[in-house]
Symmetry: D2
Subunit: 137 residues, 4 copies
C-alpha cells in the first residue's frame, strides 16, 4: 500500500472544497496518472454498510478533473465535466476505494479520462469514462 | 418552491448515512417519483464556486436507488447500482440542485431509472440514466 | 402509424450513405424532433431473430445527428458525436423500431440529444443520450 | 496487420445475420479476447466520408456479445445487452476499424465488456463499455 501525499492532499482540498468533505486523500498526481483514495467509513455508506456509489463517483470525478487539467492544450484555462459514466463492479465494505485516472484522449476541444477504482485488495470496484470540455479565456 | 419533508429526510438519512453528510433533503418519495435536493454551499463545491459534479451524481444516485426499491418485482430483496451515466448541462453556483427520479423500466432482473436534475430556477442541470440490478434472497 | 416521408428519406440516404444500407426511413424531421424507423428483417438481426443492438444504436445515432445539425449555434459548420450511451429496454422481434430524437441542451460547444426508441406497438425499446460537439470553420 | 479468419467470419455471419450486412470480419475469437474489423467503404459512411458511428458501435456490440457468451457462468444460456456506452476519439476516413473486446467483469448476473476500437494505423478510434445480462433457462 502506497502512502498518502499530505502536501498534495492539502492542495487538492484547498482547491476543491468537496474533496475535504468527502475525505479524499491524494496518493500521487501527474500528467499521466492521478491516484487518490477515500477510506471506508460508516457515514460514507448507503444501506447495508456498502460505500455509497456517489462516494465512488465523486472520488473518480475529482481524480479525473485533476488529471484533465494536467492534459490541457496550450491556451486553455480549465475544464468542465460534460459527461461521466460508471460501471460498478464490486461493493466496498471495508478498507478504502482507490481511483487512478489516466488520459485516454487529449484533444483541442475535449479531454477523455479513464478511471479505474479498486479496493484495498486491488480488486476492481468501478470503471469510469468521462469527457471534459476544454475551456478557453 | 415545494417544501422539504422532514420526516422523509430523517428516514433517508437513517437508512443511507452518506445522504446526511451530503445534506440531501427529501421533498417527496413515491413509486412514480422521488424528489430531493442539496443546497449549494461553499464546502460542496469544486474549484470556482461550482457545485461539485460528485454532489450532483451522489444526489441522483440516492434518489435513483430510493425510486428503484419502490419498483421492485415480487420476491426481490433490494437493488444495487450496475451503472450510471450523467450528462452535465449547466453549472450550479447558488440555490440548490433538485433531482427527480422516475422509473423508465421495471423488469424482473433490472430496473432502469431516469433522473432529471434542475437548479432553483428550474433550469436543466443534469440528466442521469442508471441501471439497478434486482437482488433476491 | 404515421407514414414515411419519401422525400426526406431520399435526402437522408443521399447525405448519409449508411442510412440506406441500414434501411432507415424518415417519418419527419424538424428542429424540435426527428423521427425515423427501421423495419425488422432477418438480415438485421443478431442471434435468435432479435433486431441487432447495433441497428438500434445506428438508427438513433442517425436521427440524433440529424436533430443536432438543426440545433446548431450561429457560425457552426456541423457536429460530430463525442459520446453515446444506450439503455436497452426491450427486444424487437417483428414490426419496426422507431426513434425520436429531441434536443436536451443546445449550447455553444456541445448539443445533447435524447432519443427514445419504441417498437411498432409503441413500447419502449431503448433510451439514448448522446453528446455532439459543435464544429466551426 | 493480422489476417482475417475466414472460418470464424463465416460462423459469426451465420449466427449473427447483421454482421454480414455490416461486413464484419473476425480476426480471432477466444474467451480472453475477440477481435474483428470492418473495412471503410463509402456506403458505410455518414456525411463527409467518415465511417458512421453506428458502424463502429455495431462492430463493438458484435465483438462484445461474442466475448460475453464465452465468459458465461455455468448454467447460463446466453446474454443480452443491457446498456452500452461509446466514447468516440477519432474519425475513420480510410482503411478499417478494428475492435478488440475483453471481459472486465464476469459475474453471475452480468458480464461487463470493454472494447477498444482502433484504425488501420493502430490509433484509438473509440472506447466502449457495455453490460450484458446473463440469461438462464
Amino acid at each position: 500500500m502506497t502512502a498518502v501525499d499530505d502536501r498534495q492532499t492539502k492542495m487538492m482540498r484547498e482547491n476543491v472544497p468537496f474533496a475535504g468533505v468527502l475525505g479524499v486523500e491524494v496518493v500521487s498526481s501527474g500528467r499521466d496518472e492521478v491516484r487518490a483514495r477515500v477510506e471506508w467509513r460508516p457515514e460514507r455508506c448507503t444501506a447495508g454498510g456498502v460505500l455509497h456509489g456517489g462516494v465512488i463517483m465523486s472520488l473518480a470525478d475529482t481524480t479525473g478533473a485533476t488529471c484533465a487539467v494536467q492534459n490541457l492544450p496550450e491556451g486553455a484555462s480549465g475544464t468542465t465535466t460534460i459527461e461521466s459514466k460508471t460501471n460498478f463492479l464490486r461493493a466496498v465494505r471495508d478498507g478504502y476505494a482507490e481511483a487512478v485516472s489516466r488520459p485516454l484522449h487529449a484533444g483541442r476541444t475535449v479531454v477523455v479520462i479513464e478511471t479505474d477504482v479498486t479496493d484495498a485488495a486491488g480488486r476492481p470496484v468501478a470503471k469510469v469514462l468521462q469527457t471534459q470540455a476544454v475551456l478557453r479565456g
